[in-house]
């Protein structure tokens, strides 16, 4: 008995872990969208801020990519839904010998790597353009046209699968009855078959749009000189990341959850209606209403909504700029402590090199911070050398704090910082640069102290 309890516990724990794996990354990413640090991260947490949503909306490349993705998505729906429908109807009427071949061909469009599909589409239309000797501006070379075609190739197979599963439940007696009663083929198609397939058409369209919207592998080849949301995203993510991408993710996750919620509610309602038809006379209105609230999904969405409201309320009357300044000051304090500690450790080792590096760093400091006032000597730019990357970006935000700290936050201070950081990133195998920029300031301080 105890072994079965243990087994059950293990299974439940496993399921929990599985869903943690499924949702953990998405949750972490969503939270980073609200951290003001310029690198998407959970800890150290700087400040709660929604500024990254603004950054996202003001990103012209992202928005034009979004527009293209939307256009392509709609077009793909209009191409792939009729194709999928034709394919599904065709499959039902093929002879037993041809059907497996046809099915294999259509399923292959899903299995063939998207990269290969993109390349073959690109080459095919390029060659067609050459054969017909068309101009370069013609649609044979147009990125959006090629992407629509390339994506529809495999998305049609998705829609076909949706139609097949719906058609399996179709009662073929209906067809015979309609035709017997004198309906023409087209009347039968329009008045019997299409209404029956209506839900499938809806879900196929949604599926096609989503598949198109999130496709990257095929699109990256067929899009040529244009850009879609995914190609913009890919280049952004590859060359330096910031939380505005997390902000986009938050929006998409929000939309997805809403869609899932609506889908669930509609399904329940349909279910209830079917029940109603079965048990005539029973009032089901109250039942469905209470069911909506018993539904775990709706509870989940409600919780998320409440959490969102809560954060919004917390954010009310909360000054992001103020918080940032505080966070920055705190970090500087920590940095100073750290550098002092390091100094104690390194002093002995650096005895011989101290003089040389100290002089070089003083000249460097003078050069890179010409505009600093009397604070300059204390908060010399090189003091910040080891500061975390994020501080650099923070200062670039349009509303640079205008107060007594201004001289500390002067952009010139940061140049040295950025430089040293960049050097660190670019040349990980050259510890000399890193060495100098990190330990130089502490050397300097050490000198001051020893003189005193």
């Amino acid at each position: 008995m105890s072994s079965s309890t243990f087994l059950r516990f293990t299974i439940n724990f496993y399921i929990f872990l599985f869903f943690a794996y499924l949702f953990g990354p998405l949750i972490v990413m969503s939270i980073t969208a609200f951290n003001s640090a310029s690198f998407p991260r959970l800890s150290p947490w700087d400040c709660f801020s929604t500024e990254w949503f603004g950054v996202l909306v003001n990103d012209a490349r992202m928005m034009s990519g979004f527009k293209n993705s939307f256009i392509i998505g709609i077009a793909v729906v209009f191409v792939s839904v009729p194709i999928g429908l034709a394919g599904a109807l065709m499959l039902g009427q093929l002879s037993n010998r041809v059907r497996p071949v046809f099915y294999t061909l259509t399923i292959s469009t899903i299995l063939v790597p998207g990269v290969v599909l993109g390349i073959s589409t690109l080459i095919f239309w390029d060659r067609m353009g050459m054969i017909f000797n068309t101009e370069y501006e013609s649609f044979f070379y147009d990125g959006i046209f090629l992407t629509i075609i390339g994506q529809s190739t495999f998305i049609s197979a998705y829609t076909m699968l949706v139609f097949i599963s719906r058609l399996q439940r179709f009662d073929s007696v209906l067809e015979e009855a309609a035709l017997d009663l004198g309906a023409t083929n087209i009347q039968y198609f329009r008045k019997i078959l299409l209404p029956f397939l209506k839900p499938a058409i809806g879900s196929a369209a949604v599926l096609a749009f989503l598949a198109s919207f999130e496709n990257y592998n095929t699109t990256v080849f067929t899009i040529v000189s244009e850009s879609t949301l995914t190609t913009v995203l890919a280049s952004k993510v590859r060359y330096g990341i910031n939380p505005s991408i997390s902000a986009l993710a938050v929006i998409i996750i929000g939309l997805t959850l809403t869609a899932a919620f609506i889908h669930e509610v509609l399904k329940r309602r349909e279910h209830a209606r079917e029940n109603e038809l079965e048990k005539e006379g029973k009032t089901l209105k109250v039942k469905t209403y209470s069911k909506t609230f018993r539904n775990p999904v709706s509870v989940m969405v409600l919780l998320i909504f409440v959490a969102g409201l809560g954060t919004a309320w917390m954010a009310r009357g909360y000054n992001v700029q103020q918080c940032k300044i505080e966070a920055f000051a705190e970090k500087r304090k920590m940095q100073e402590e750290l550098s002092k500690k390091r100094l104690a450790e390194m002093q002995k080792k650096l005895e011989s090199q101290k003089a040389a590096s100290a002089t070089s760093s003083t000249t460097k400091a003078k050069k890179s911070a010409p505009g600093t006032d009397q604070y300059g000597s204390i908060f010399a730019p090189t003091n910040l050398g080891g500061q975390v990357e994020s501080d650099e970006k923070k200062m670039e935000t349009p509303e640079t704090p205008k107060n007594q700290y201004q001289s500390i936050f002067a952009p010139t201070n940061l140049e040295a910082q950025v430089e040293s950081k960049k050097q660190k990133k670019e040349t990980p195998e050259a510890p000399k640069n890193q060495y100098q920029s990190i330990f130089a300031p502490s050397n300097l301080e050490g000198q001051v102290e020893s003189q005193e």
């Binding site: 949702f23 991260r41 063939v112 095919f124 995203l233």
Partner: protein, 310 residues
């Protein structure tokens, strides 16, 4: 054949018949098969577009094997017997795809079984929905999430260092751990649903009979459930293998800087390399090897192609 057409037109009428024939023809032939043939053809041609566009279609526009030779042996003055970079990347891609597939089978089989036979009513619905929701979110965004988690200053490193398990953060990206986890994550859904569909149709009485006859739970799975679910497992494996071997976004974003994915090399030939024929040759090689591999697996496990995708 002729008879079939007659029957087909009689049943559907002229307009509908033409619609169905024309549309499926365009889809299968114009959009799918012809482009593959053109790509195949193109992979045997010289790169005249870059070298000398006027020679296209001329007497010099003949077939060549140079791109396939390049994939195997590298440039003519390569001192090594093989094109070590490309061939090893290719092998790495295929091997990793195999491991990702195995990882997904092991990960997903218990969940699929749980969904089909253990969970009840509302719980099943909720689990299904929460399985699907993450896959409505862009692949690139999912990759981005993994980058946040696994970066050198990422959440996992921070937590491990904070707890004192690690003294130094591990560079998960460089070690490709981020890539493996991300690929495994990306195709969970494609593994779960085929297995679920197969397991669900198993008659519960068979399991109970095995239990009554004294079989321990692991043997029930080994002898009853898994053999029954074999078509579903194979079809899930096929999809996961093909898609992870052909993945591009994830390796680009969370792949280690020192190790490439084969699709990245193809991408490079198209974009920075400006050698389309060579890129197509590489793409054809990838496709052919993957298809052969999948067919081999199907042969071994005795599963037919028609059972895939249901």
């Amino acid at each position: 054949m002729n008879q079939w057409f007659k029957k087909f037109f009689l049943r559907n009428g002229l307009v509908l018949s033409l619609y169905m024939l024309l549309v499926t023809f365009i889809w299968i032939v114009v959009m799918f098969v012809l482009p593959q043939i053109f790509m195949f053809d193109f992979s045997f041609r010289f790169n005249w577009t870059q070298i000398d566009p006027s020679k296209i279609g001329g007497p010099d526009d003949v077939y060549t094997l140079q791109h396939y030779k390049f994939l195997l042996f590298g440039s003519p003055n390569n001192p090594d017997p093989f094109n070590i970079v490309d061939v090893s990347v290719f092998a790495h891609t295929i091997l990793t795809a195999v491991f990702v597939t195995l990882f997904d089978v092991i990960l997903c089989y218990p969940v699929a079984y749980y969904l089909a036979h253990v969970a009840k009513g509302g719980v099943t619905r909720l689990m299904m929905l929460s399985l699907v929701v993450p896959f409505w979110i862009n692949e690139l965004l999912r990759a981005f999430a993994f980058r946040i988690l696994f970066g050198e200053e990422g959440s996992i490193n921070n937590i491990l260092v904070y707890l004192g398990i690690l003294s130094q953060p591990i560079d998960f990206v460089r070690e490709n751990i981020a890539l493996y986890t991300g690929l495994g994550y990306a195709y969970i859904l494609l593994m779960i649903f085929p297995i679920y569909n197969a397991v669900e149709s198993l008659d519960r009485n068979q399991i109970e009979a095995a239990r009554d006859l004294g079989s321990p739970w692991w043997r029930i799975h080994l002898r009853v459930v898994i053999p029954f679910a074999k078509p579903g497992i194979t079809s899930g494996c096929t999809m996961v293998f093909m898609l992870s071997a052909g993945a591009l976004a994830l390796p680009q974003i969370i792949g280690g800087p020192s190790s490439l994915w084969f699709t990245q090399i193809i991408y490079q030939w198209f974009n920075t390399g400006s050698n389309w024929p060579r890129g197509s040759a590489y793409a054809v090689s990838l496709l052919v090897i993957c298809v052969i591999f999948v067919l081999l697996i199907m042969k071994i496990f005795k599963v037919k192609f028609g059972e895939i995708g249901r």
